[in-house]
């Protein structure tokens, strides 16, 4: 493969769920100007019934982070300063890389509370009220309120696939893994020089289109 390594690169990792074919992973590395340097994608991955039963609520973090995410990160030639994802379970990949991983959250609705990402239904137990981010603010993912609020299972494998409270860098709303709270500071430092115009959510649309293009091309 040709191409030079870039001294400042950003990684964008996401998983596309196709009802017919299964899961497609896509990993795009951009330079500071938003231009593509590398793109890696997976063949479709489909968990079997046994995996679905036995992995239970940990299936998504396992598939998204450990299986697909790790495979894609291992293929890249450039090491990004930050890996971004728009799927919360992908945060589990943090266990297998030294690069900080950020969850890019959708823009806040006017008047809405700051809450973590969209895969919040996975891996959680029902409770009375209070959002997870309130209960789990700080560095201790293992502490769940004895009554009220959502109760999380919090062994390490589960923790990497869950995000903590949201924070802002420029126009972008981010969160990090519950078990990698220090990433927040590292991400803030590493993205400090990025232009205000850089929309960290936009590249995921490119990945979706590229996977669709690759899928059509492979047929």
């Amino acid at each position: 493969m040709a191409g030079a390594k870039c001294n400042y690169a950003l990684g964008f990792l996401t998983i596309i769920e196709n009802p017919e074919h299964g899961l497609f992973g896509g990993y795009l590395i951009l330079n500071r100007a938003g231009r593509p340097l590398e793109f890696h994608c997976t063949a479709p991955v489909k968990p079997n019934r046994a995996q679905q039963i036995l992995y239970g609520p940990t299936l998504e973090p396992f598939l998204f982070g450990e299986q697909i995410g790790q495979s894609l990160l291992d293929k890249a030639r450039s090491e990004p300063v930050v890996v971004c994802t728009d799927r919360e379970p992908v945060l589990a990949v943090r266990e297998f890389t030294k690069v900080p991983v950020a969850l890019v959250l959708p823009p806040e609705e006017p008047g809405a509370e700051t809450t973590p990402g969209h895969d919040a239904s996975a891996n959680e137990a029902p409770a009375d009220n209070a959002p997870a981010s309130d209960a789990l603010a700080g560095n201790s993912p293992a502490v769940a309120p004895p009554a009220g609020g959502r109760v999380y299972r919090c062994d390490p494998a589960h923790g990497y696939g869950r995000c903590g409270p949201a924070f802002r860098i420029g126009p972008n709303r981010l969160a990090v893994s519950l078990l990698a709270a220090d990433d927040r500071q590292a991400i803030a430092e590493r993205l400090a020089t990025l232009g205000d115009w850089f929309d960290l959510a936009e590249p995921f649309q490119r990945i979706r289109e590229a996977i669709e293009e690759a899928r059509r091309g492979g047929q």
């Binding site: 030079a4 100007a33 231009r35």
Partner: protein
Amino acid sequence: MGQAQPIGSHAGEFSWHPPAAPRTRELEVSLDPRPFVTGWNRALGRLGEVAARPIAVGFSTPRTISIPIRRAPIATRSFVFPEPIAWAGESPAAPAKAGPGGAKVKVSGATRIKPPGDVIKLEDRLRYVLQPSLETLLATRSLSFPVRPFPYQLEGIAFLYPRHAAILADEMGLGKTMQAITAIRLLMHSGELQSVLLICPKPLVVNWQREFGLWAPEIPLAVIEGDQPRRRWLWQLSGVPVKIANYELLHRDRDVLEARDAAGGARIRFDLVMLDESQRIKNRGGATSQAVRVIERGRSWALTGTPVENSPEDLVGIFEFLAPGFLSPDMKPRRMGRTVSDYVLRRTKDQVLSELPPKLFRDAELELTPEQQESYRLAREQGVFRLTGLGPSATIQHVFELVLRLKQICNFDPLTGASSKLERLEADLEEVATSGRKAIVFSQWVQTIERLAGWLRRFGPLEYHGRVPPGRREAVIRRFREDPSRHVLLISYGAGGVGLNLQFANYVFLFDRWWNPAVEDQAINRAHRIGISAPVIVSRFLILDTIEERIERILEEKRELVETIFSGTQPHRKLGLTQEELFGLFDLKCPGGPMGVAA
């Protein structure tokens, strides 16, 4: 075990032999019947009947099943793209800021580059799919713009960017120049283009230099000009990414373009050759067409507001440069339109510039003055008599001569100088000058323009035509724009039909009519283009019951032809200014052909 034992004293009656059971256990059962005392003594003497059945109680060893959780390797595909080039003055780390006097492109839009249908390799297609939106690409510091591009212009840039063969055929005045320069600029910044040759009509070279300075000031240019040794040196000059040549000198320099280097191998090659006003190569057998086709190149783009001037064959001619053999002259217009749809982008002002002030037609249908009527009648009768007398030896040239003669009489009476068009023009110009506005007047003939200049002296007329030296033409335009006492610019279709930006004029007069509507549209769009602040009033002068009225009908039909190819509608009838139709203008039969359609 395996056989049940008799229970009770009457073993013969109670014995029971079940099938062999795997395991059984014998149970001792003692019975102590206590009959209910009823007083019936005989019944008390009998024993009660009791049946017993052994039940097998099994304790099998549980079977186990192991479900392996396999971690199959994930199959991946990888694509690595070349690192973009950083140009002098560009700091990729810098956030987007507008340069001095420039406009930053808003990043919020999402004009995406889509791979064209003829890009087959997945890696190439993904390279385009994965590019950021144009708004993002343009939001770097070095790519500021003098004015913010319109969304349709960004779409035009996104159309050109990935294509190796393309025609940008927007209506005149929509900014094809800006779109092409910006696409080139982006491709150069991405490292996909290193050498570009732009070929345009000679009068437009200055225009292109100016536009490149405006839209891509960081890109060095060289204009191919001068004597032959200098031109040869310029052709071979390396390190200048964009070279501008004109069609006229291509004929003369064809040997340079075809020559191989000293080692007998490589020829001069460009990553992109772009033709402006590409209708110049519509004639496939013409010298210009052949000259541009010999240039070695990677990409071929064509810019024209009039891809079809006379017939669909015009488009075939342009495609001989873009993709030889892709189109055939035998194709029906609708099929041709479908075939080229991925290669041609054409938008009209009505489609994309709803906010642009309108173009209002205020056609003037006039009658000849008595003096003109007499001259016209005589010329027509003599001409037709001559054509009839020539019989089968009459040629198109003979018909043209007569048409031109009659059109000139429609402008001015050759004996007295009387002109109903002039009378009307003077009246209209009074209104223009009084309101402090400016007007441009088009004619086919320099002689007519010079004559008009004399009559219209009080309006401060300026002339722009073939007899004005090229070096003075820019000054004429500048003076017309800046001098408030200059209300009229008299232009010939040939010299001023293309490349001029006259959006400060609000009135356009077509003193006489050109042969095809595309040229007329080009002329009108000198004024009706981006930047105008008020409607443009267009007056097309037409003398009733003359050759002009008949030509007008043919022009309308040609407009329909263009619509057919680029909008997929069905033409009403076979169109075009055929030989039969030319003869038909005078109700004459075409020699060796069917009778033409007389208007």
